[in-house]
């Protein structure tokens, strides 16, 4: 059914379209009253994002509580997740332990209890995952060699050449090799990346305009 015949969808579309247009005009350049209204809308969006985070948090909590109560596979990890969540929330809002005592009602998340938690747990874990990517890359490369698809083989060969040239600076002394690699990077790769970027930008522009006009309505929930 066309949204012109559906008042709820029509109102939602008008609000979304007008809001998007105001923020778009403000993005292009400051225009008096429009800038003030656009800034107000952006502030409201930040509030909505914070509320969305609360809803997401509830979703995560309920999902894992359900897993624990049903004793699903790996329910122990759900207990760890819930415990970690509680620890971060409590130390960030109520009380957190610091060397020599404790901090009551921390005013900002940058205060020591939460900062220590992140430094002790989050940062090493994040670094570990990044380090794992190297091994996953190797595994993916080996599988691509076994599959022998044209796209994968081209990617692997080019990646190997670039890696070897980067790892062994002595190879730069070989005639033509360094110049060839640089030419490929400065022209072929750069041109391809720009083409990809232009195509994606055009797709994004069309997608945005279609949302403004109401042809696509990812914001609806009825």
């Amino acid at each position: 059914m066309s949204f012109l015949h559906d008042p709820k969808r029509l109102i939602a579309t008008l609000i979304a379209g007008a809001t998007g247009l105001l923020v778009l005009i403000d993005f292009a350049g400051p225009v008096g009253t429009i800038s003030a209204v656009a800034q107000l809308l952006v502030n409201w969006a930040a509030l909505v994002t914070a509320l969305a985070l609360l809803v997401g948090l509830l979703n995560v909590v309920l999902s894992h509580i359900r897993r624990v109560m049903r004793r699903n596979a790996d329910w122990g990890y759900s207990v760890v997740l819930l415990g970690a969540m509680l620890a971060v929330i409590v130390s960030g809002t109520l009380i957190g332990f610091v060397p020599g005592g404790y901090v009551l009602y921390p005013t900002v998340l940058a205060e020591q209890p939460v900062r220590d938690l992140f430094r002790a747990f989050y940062q090493p874990l994040a670094a570990s995952f990044l380090a794992l990517l190297a091994f996953f890359g190797l595994s993916a490369a080996l599988r691509a060699l076994r599959r022998r698809t044209t796209d994968s083989l081209v990617i692997l060969v080019v990646a190997m050449i670039v890696l070897v040239v980067a790892a062994l600076p002595q190879l730069a002394a070989l005639p033509y090799l360094n110049d060839t690699v640089n030419w490929m990077a400065d022209f072929v790769a750069l041109a391809s990346a720009r083409g990809l970027l232009i195509g994606a930008a055009l797709g994004a522009l069309v997608a945005g305009i279609r949302v403004l006009l109401g042809f696509d309505q990812p914001y609806l929930d009825r």
Binding site: I25, A28, V31, T49, G56, L133, A200, G203, I209, D216
Partner: protein, 257 residues
């Protein structure tokens, strides 16, 4: 009130694209100049999975990525992922195939819940919608999101897993685990960081603007195909401008900027 020149230029461009969009929408609805779609093998994989999912009972996993709705770099890609998720959910609701959706952003999570509920209601199967199948795995933390997806792979056998949205290097974590577990994967990305990883690990690949076209390919009606006409027209215009400027540059003329 005088507008800055950048504002005027942007408004003119937006008006031109609005005009093109409306014109192409009217053309498609009127059925004028029917065109054939360039085949996208990745989406054929999804169509087959939708048909099989109803028989096997295995879930179809959808992901709009770990990008934020509101972030300048990732909003458009995440919206493309939301639209594709809505289309696939509508087809799955009609076929009876189960759906599992994961998100890496709180706002995208809310939008996904609404989109999926809409899809099931439009299919007349609102009672089949289960919010448990829409899971938020992380919030604006790509590596945490990717590791959450690997957990989903470990918990249940999936018919297919589609990643269509904003991805970076974290895709390798989820994609490689999926490939090791023989999960058929379709992935679309617009960044040079993610695309090689997609080619190495996914069975179906959507490159760049194809992630925006995917929604039109999966739709049952022809109206969404108007976006393809608009994208093609704009791409043609950009190519012509580049060629004209190239020829002018060969004759020594440059833009006075």
């Amino acid at each position: 009130m005088s507008l800055p020149s950048e504002t005027l230029f942007l408004l003119v461009l937006v008006l031109a694209v609005i005009g093109l969009t409306l014109w192409h929408h009217a053309r498609v609805l009127a059925g004028r100049n029917p065109f054939t779609l360039r085949p996208l093998p990745g989406l054929d994989l999804m169509r087959r999975a939708l048909a099989r999912g109803a028989e096997t009972g295995r879930a179809i996993h959808l992901s709009p990525g770990s990008g934020a709705v509101g972030g300048r770099a990732s909003t458009a890609e995440t919206v493309a992922g939301l639209l594709v998720a809505e289309r696939v959910a509508a087809e799955a609701a009609l076929n009876g195939a189960p759906i599992l959706v994961s998100s890496g952003d709180a706002v995208a999570h809310l939008a996904l819940r609404g989109s999926l509920r809409q899809s099931y209601q439009r299919a007349g199967l609102g009672q089949d919608y289960d919010p448990v199948n829409v899971q938020m795995l992380a919030h604006q933390d790509p590596m945490a999101y990717a590791s959450g997806v690997t957990t989903l792979y470990g918990r249940q056998k999936l018919e297919v897993s589609q990643f269509n949205g904003s991805f970076g290097q974290e895709f390798l974590l989820a994609g490689e685990v999926g490939a090791q577990r023989d999960v058929p994967q379709i992935a679309g990305a617009t960044t040079t960081t993610a695309l090689p990883l997609v080619y190495l690990t996914a069975d179906g690949v959507l490159v760049g603007e194809e992630i925006y076209a995917a929604e039109a390919y999966l739709a049952r009606t022809t109206a969404p195909q108007a976006r393809l006409l608009t994208q093609d027209a704009m791409r043609t215009a950009v190519i012509l401008v580049i060629l004209i400027l190239l020829i002018l540059a060969l004759f020594g003329w440059t833009l006075p900027i």
